[in-house]
Symmetry: C2
Subunit: 376 residues, 2 copies
């Protein structure tokens, strides 16, 4: 994998670059739609590629490990082939889902012991096994196993947890380097900075993971309930330490505003379920603000969902029609809203990239932020 | 609306024709995907047009009347505009849904009194009001209000019900002729033959509705639980009486085999929820037979859903992937299965049309029937 920075914004730490993988080129900053269990909910692979313009998607190792399972994925020739998706895929390590989905889990030096949220069966994730799982999935970018600390989190817990994440990282890298890709294309390994909301821990973690000199680095444990300002503060501490010439991935973030602020701090990669999950519930992101399409006021608004060119479906269907579909619980409502929101996120990233190239990013961001937060 | 018969099969009563509406030309025999409440479940308008090749869809007046309601539809400029669908639409009269969905209904000489299955509110459908509703919807083909008798049905009940349907028909036609289209395009009115499984009643009804000389005629009250042979028998009795130069629409039918048998009896138009509803439950129609994709045997079958050219998605995605999606209750599973099944129905109609033109329909049908019924 190769990463090249094409432009640096003069008014902020924002960068525009290009990430080159064996499955294609990704221009950064980039948003990765979340394809939890081998599908971005409600959206076909064609729509993802052609209508939305996604260049990379994210898969969740926890979900894929449980269903369809590594045996099927291996026999399919990896996730790309299994789901008919020939562009890049990044997978998380599964740790976050163990934490959030399994109500029967234990964390030890060895790794996670947990029960499946589907059938209660017992499983173990170790720093080594999640590399094996992601080798079988065949993702272009493999994430290290970490513990994502909750918020709020005592300093002592955060410190011990970070140190455990670091020890896991060492084991993960050793295992990653001792193993090989299965399907012929190369795979990169991203470590994850932890340290909760404590500046000294975040610094220590960023320095530690930078020292491994991997092809990219991630920031985890943010957007878990802490105030936004604290998230940006931690993000800034970390991006000042992480290598300039490697992509930085802020995991699980966030709202359009969160993303623009984080781009300004030097983050290159993002993922979040928000555009699809909130879309399914009738929340639409537009360049003029947020629409709750269930609201009575849209019932006879026959204007397009979004007048701007941010998405094809936004121009094709009216607010009144989408409101009707969402209220009648028609699948197409969730589909249209998801396609629109993801298209909007893609549009936002393309705009950001253009503004970085023109050195107008900081101004544009400050003009966009109040609009993005407006409730229409 | 103009109807022209291009070919008549020498070995059966099958016909291939062309129905010309203000929203486009429909080649017959035709299958109409069911867009219950302003959307064919799980399928976008683009997919319907471009991937599936649908030339006309069906809307349910009962559902549309309750949601979004006639006021919204009227202000939208009709259903075509409301849902961004510029090809023909046929709507049923709502009688069947009152019968099947409302558990609080009463049938009188005047019409149906019923309570909404959504909020329990009280409503009345009369032969006149359902014409008004369909004028507002703006469907290209308007259906008469009828009573769809259940199966089994006593002769006396069937006779009285048929006579009521005939009286309603007279009122409906008077009202239809006294009213005008709202949106500039012309609308046709189809009466419906009833008479349950009684040959004399079916004959009487077919003669009665033929006498009104409308632009097309429908056969209702079949495929409601009676043995298939009885359905074909009634269908044959009726098609021998209905005008040759008008399209015949067999309502709510059916399996691929039902459709081929009915085409052989001279039916031109069909609709059914089966391809979408069964698709959502993992049942796939293919040219080699029926697949229950939930079956364990498909879990590591990485071959395409359907090797033939009947659908794009059938070639794009594997059986193992679709099984995974359906089992994981991912929306995309329902979407792929629905697109595939509808595409298969369209393929079957196109094939039937070609075979009629070549005078090989009867042979082809007899060769297809055992395949269509095979469980793979």
């Amino acid at each position: 994998m190769k990463f090249r920075i094409d432009h640096r914004d003069l008014g902020s730490a924002a960068r525009a670059g290009e990430l080159n993988t064996d499955h294609g080129v990704i221009q950064t900053p980039v948003f990765m739609p979340v394809g939890t269990v081998g599908s971005v909910k409600g959206i076909s692979q064609n729509e993802l590629k052609e209508q939305i313009g996604a260049k990379i998607i994210l898969g969740n190792s926890y979900h894929l490990y449980l269903r369809p399972g590594t045996e099927i994925l291996n026999r399919a020739g990896g996730l790309h082939k299994f789901m008919s998706w020939n562009l890049p895929i990044l997978t998380d390590s599964g740790g976050y889902q163990v934490f959030s989905l399994s109500n029967n889990r234990k964390i030890t030096e060895k790794g996670y012991a947990f029960r499946s949220h589907i059938d209660g069966s017992k499983h173990i994730f170790t720093p080594e096994s999640v590399v094996d799982i992601q080798r079988i999935i065949g993702s272009n970018i493999i994430m290290a196993l970490d513990e994502c600390t909750p918020y709020p989190c005592e300093y002592e817990y955060a410190k011990n947890s970070m140190e455990l994440t670091h020890r896991w990282l060492e084991r993960g890298i050793i295992h990653f380097e001792a193993s090989r890709p299965i399907y012929g294309h190369s795979q990169s390994f991203f470590p994850i900075v932890q340290g909760s909301v404590y500046t000294d821990l975040r610094k220590q973690s960023a320095e530690m993971i930078s020292s491994f000199n991997q092809e990219g680095n991630a920031i985890g444990g943010l957007s878990v309930g802490e105030p936004e300002e604290q998230m940006y503060e931690m993000c800034e501490v970390v991006t000042q330490i992480l290598p300039q010439d490697k992509p930085r991935y802020l995991m699980g973030v966030g709202t359009p505003a969160n993303i623009l602020e984080s781009i300004a701090l030097g983050v290159d990669m993002f993922d979040c379920v928000m555009p699809t999950r909130n879309g399914r519930n009738g929340m639409l992101f537009t360049s003029n603000g947020i629409i709750n399409i269930k609201n009575e006021k849209w019932k006879d608004d026959f204007s397009p969902i979004d007048e701007t060119e941010t998405s094809g479906v936004g121009k094709q269907y009216s607010k009144a029609y989408l409101r009707h579909l969402i209220n009648a619980k028609e699948m197409l409502g969730a589909q249209i809203a998801s396609i629109h929101n993801l298209s909007f996120y893609m549009w936002l990233m393309n705009e950001a990239r253009d503004k970085i190239a023109n050195n107008t990013f900081a101004d544009w961001k400050n003009k966009m932020l109040p609009k993005l937060k407006t409730r229409l």
